[in-house]
Structures are given as structure tokens and as C-alpha cells.
């Protein structure tokens, strides 16, 4: 579904990605883990054709219309209400407007539909951005730190939606520096450090390889062991 082969990306003389290779299969939840500045967002930018790599290749087996995107900068229209923001995209996708309401309901924003985005809290904005990403039931969903800064209850709600989307056939590519989240959600993860993938596979397999099981797979200690630094 998604493939990256030996991708290299430099900004000026600084190499931000070197030899990045991975594959995401259909209906898989793939997690890209690493600290801030590791190159996670650059990978999403390349995969979504917003940035060109210097060498290597990548492929995605869907058209842009079939992808959903949620980024750190949400790109919401601040003077419009929640429902109006979603209506813009419902109209672009050519889907009925009732889908906007359903998407708002799924992220728990019913009651706030007429609130302007400028009056929303950070968590509410994040949920609205998530609702926009899933509005058209995309085949591939790119989520850049989908739960960072959210309260545990809301984050749990987002996790449930992600799992439901996968059940319905979506492939999910997410970046996070929350190891617990990765273990809980992902079928496969790649650990990214200074633009290089230092380990990849199923979370349990990785932890087993590095003898990092406590009562549950402990990806964080694998990351520290491999990179010498804390993921946070």
C-alpha cells in the first residue's frame, strides 16, 4: 500500500533522511516513532508529494483524494464554525453534508458545531482536524502526532476511532513519540533516529529481539538502548 525505498532528503547541507526504507501493507496501522526533529513529518511530506526526495523512490497505491491527512498545523479556517469547516471539504469531496455531522459526532464535538474555530481549545481543534481527515472515509490516513496534547479520555476516543477505521479497511500511517500509544495501536513500527530507521517490525517482536519486555512490550527502553537518548 505504501512503500519507501532508500529515501534521502537534505535541506541545504543538512541530511534529514538517509536511506529510509519501509513498507506498509493494506489495512495495517504503521507507526513511525522518534523524537522531535527525527524526520517524521518530512517522511509524511514526501509520501503526500508535498516534498521531493533527493534520491530513492516511494509509492502509494491510492489517488490523493483517497488519503486523509492530519498534521500538527491543522489548517482550519479560524473564522468559520466547526461544521462550516467540514462542509467546505464535504462539498469538495462531493459527499452529503450529513457526513460532516457524523464526523463531528464521532470525535465528540456535537454541541460545538456552531462554535467558531477561534473559540475552540487546542484539544477540540485537534479533534476537529481529525474529523476532517476521516470525513471522506479515506483508504489511507496520515496522522502526525494525532493525540499529542490531548487529555487521556479524548486520546482514548481517538484510538478507538483509529481502530474502527482499520476494521473498516483503512490503512493508517501515524507518527508519534508516545511509545505506549504505538504498542497499543500499531501492527508495525519503525524507530527513527536522526533521519535513519534504526529498527522496525511488530512492537512485540522488536521488544523480544532486544529483551525489553516488562509486563508489556517496552519499546521505550529499546529506543533508548539503540539511540542513547530519551524519545521525549
Amino acid at each position: 500500500m505504501i512503500k519507501m525505498n532508500n529515501i534521502v532528503k537534505r535541506f541545504d547541507n543538512h541530511t534529514v533522511l538517509s536511506d529510509v526504507t519501509f513498507e506498509v501493507k493494506e489495512k495495517e496501522i504503521f507507526g513511525l516513532l522518534g523524537p522531535s526533529g527525527a524526520g517524521k513529518t518530512t517522511i509524511i511530506n514526501i509520501l503526500t508529494n508535498q516534498l521531493k526526495s533527493d534520491s530513492g523512490s516511494h509509492e502509494i497505491n491510492v489517488i490523493p483524494f483517497e488519503t486523509g491527512l492530519m498534521l500538527d498545523e491543522d489548517g482550519l479556517y479560524v473564522r468559520l464554525s466547526c461544521i462550516e469547516n467540514l462542509d467546505v471539504f464535504a462539498c469538495i469531496y462531493g459527499i452529503p453534508r450529513k457526513k460532516s455531522m457524523e464526523a463531528l459526532k464521532s470525535v465528540g464535538l456535537i454541541g460545538a458545531e456552531k462554535k467558531p474555530v477561534s473559540a475552540l481549545s487546542r484539544g477540540m481543534r485537534q479533534r476537529l482536524a481529525f474529523a476532517r481527515a476521516i470525513l471522506h472515509s479515506p483508504k489511507i490516513l496520515f496522522l502526525d502526532e494525532p493525540t499529542s496534547g490531548l487529555d487521556p479520555g479524548t486520546a482514548q476516543g481517538i484510538h478507538e476511532i483509529i481502530q474502527n477505521l482499520r476494521k473498516n479497511g483503512a490503512t493508517i500511517f501515524l507518527t508519534t513519540h508516545n511509545m505506549e500509544e504505538a504498542v497499543k495501536l500499531c501492527d508495525k513500527v519503525a524507530l527513527l533516529h536522526k533521519g535513519r530507521i534504526v529498527e522496525q517490525g511488530a512492537p512485540a517482536e522488536i521488544c523480544e529481539r532486544h529483551h525489553a519486555f516488562k509486563t508489556v512490550p517496552d519499546l521505550e527502553s529499546v529506543f533508548i538502548k539503540m539511540t542513547g537518548m530519551d524519545v521525549q
Partner: protein
């Protein structure tokens, strides 16, 4: 055209909540109305449509330019443009939706100016047509500035001196012959010339406005090709 329609509707909703932009659309016709009713009509030496033509020419030089530049730069700065591109919106659809709404709003305000001016139907048609032509030039220039600018601050820094030059030069030209010579090449000066002499021949001013549009369209295409329509990195 579904995407252009969605962006057009979004622009309409956004304008009514963006006080700064809304003021730009309202202030010029309101000023024209007030000055015409309370100054021009009570002062025989002043032509009755003087304030209408003056504010209409200023409106054409300022509002479409600053609004288009501001909207495109804001969409780039807030990353909204990237989500539109990812949703499959084509660059021309984005520009039609964004500029289309501003164009329509300018056409309506131009008509309002014409009605305040109390022109005959032929003069009114000529007046509105010339203002619409001037709007096209301003829209192209605004879109070019919006594409070129990385954020709203940069867009404001470029668009403010530009619209001041274009909007005020016809007025300053009345008092200074040197400025008058230079401002002849600006479309705003030609719009001002036509709306002030609606009964005269308009071929030469129209040709200058069309030449302005051709130059601005070329500039727009160059900047468009270099900057593309996409979100920031």
C-alpha cells in the same frame, strides 16, 4: 467546479466574519454616499458625481488587491492550502473560488457606486464595466502578491505600498504634473479618467487598462509557475 464552488462559499462566509475585510468593501461606498449627499449636493461648484468617481477609483485600486493577497497568504501561512491540495483541489479551482468571490463582490460594490452617482443607464453601464475591468487588474496583482508572499505579514508589506501608489496616484496627479505623467501608465489612473468623463471617448484608456491586465497576467503566470499552489514546508 465543485471545489471552486466550495471555496467560493467559504470565502463568502469568511468575509462576513472578517471585519477588517468587510470594512474595506463598505467604507468606500459609504464615504461616497455621505460626501455626495452632504457636501456635493449643497455645493454647486462641486460636480455631483465627484466623490463617487474618486472613491470608486480608490476602491478599485485597494480592495481587490489587498483582499486577494491577504486571503492567499493567509491560506499559505495557516497551512489550509495544503489540505485543499491534498483534497484534490486544482490550482485553477482554488484561484477561481478565491478570486471569483472577490470579483463578484467588487462588481456589486461597483454597481452600488453607480447607483449613488445617479448616472444615466448608458453611463451606469460604462461606469460599472470600467470598474470591473479595473478589478480584474487589481485581482491579478493581488493574487501575484499572495502567491509570492510566504505569510500575511509579507503580503501586507508588499500590498500596502502597492495599493497606496495605485489608489492615490490619480488623486495626486490632479495637483502635480510630474505624477500625472507617470500615473498615466497605471490602470487606476485610466479608470479614474474614464469614470470622470463618461461621455468622452474611452478607447485609449481602455487600451492602457488592457495592456496593464496583459502585463499583470504575464507576471502572475511567472510567479504562479515559480511558487505553485501548495502549502508551506
Amino acid at each position: 467546479m465543485r471545489s471552486a464552488k466550495a471555496i467560493f462559499i467559504k470565502q463568502a462566509r469568511d468575509l462576513f466574519r472578517n471585519r477588517m475585510m468587510l470594512i474595506q468593501f463598505i467604507i468606500f461606498p459609504v464615504m461616497a454616499f455621505v460626501m455626495t449627499e452632504f457636501v456635493a449636493k449643497s455645493t454647486p461648484e462641486i460636480p455631483s458625481s465627484m466623490f463617487v468617481t474618486m472613491f470608486a477609483a480608490m476602491f478599485i485600486g485597494m480592495t481587490p488587491l489587498s483582499m486577494t493577497a491577504g486571503v492567499i497568504a493567509e491560506d499559505k501561512e495557516h497551512n489550509s492550502l495544503r489540505f485543499l491540495v491534498m483534497a484534490g483541489v486544482k490550482p485553477h479551482e482554488y484561484l477561481i473560488g478565491t478570486c471569483g468571490f472577490t470579483f463578484l463582490a467588487c462588481a456589486l460594490v461597483s454597481l452600488l457606486f453607480g447607483l449613488i452617482g445617479g448616472f444615466t443607464s448608458v453611463e451606469l453601464a460604462k461606469f460599472v464595466a470600467v470598474l470591473i475591468l479595473g478589478s480584474c487588474a487589481s485581482l491579478l496583482l493581488g493574487a501575484t502578491i499572495g502567491l509570492f508572499s510566504k505569510n500575511q505579514q509579507a503580503a501586507t508589506a508588499i500590498s500596502t505600498p502597492t495599493f497606496m501608489l495605485l489608489a492615490f496616484s490619480p488623486m495626486i496627479a490632479q495637483f502635480n504634473t510630474n505624477v500625472a505623467k507617470v500615473s498615466t501608465i497605471f490602470y487606476t489612473q485610466q479608470v479614474n479618467t474614464i469614470v470622470n468623463n463618461l461621455t468622452d471617448g474611452i478607447m485609449k484608456p481602455i487600451l492602457i487598462i488592457l495592456a496593464n491586465i496583459a502585463i499583470l497576467l504575464t507576471l502572475f503566470i511567472i510567479v504562479y509557475r515559480k511558487n505553485k499552489i501548495r502549502g508551506k514546508r
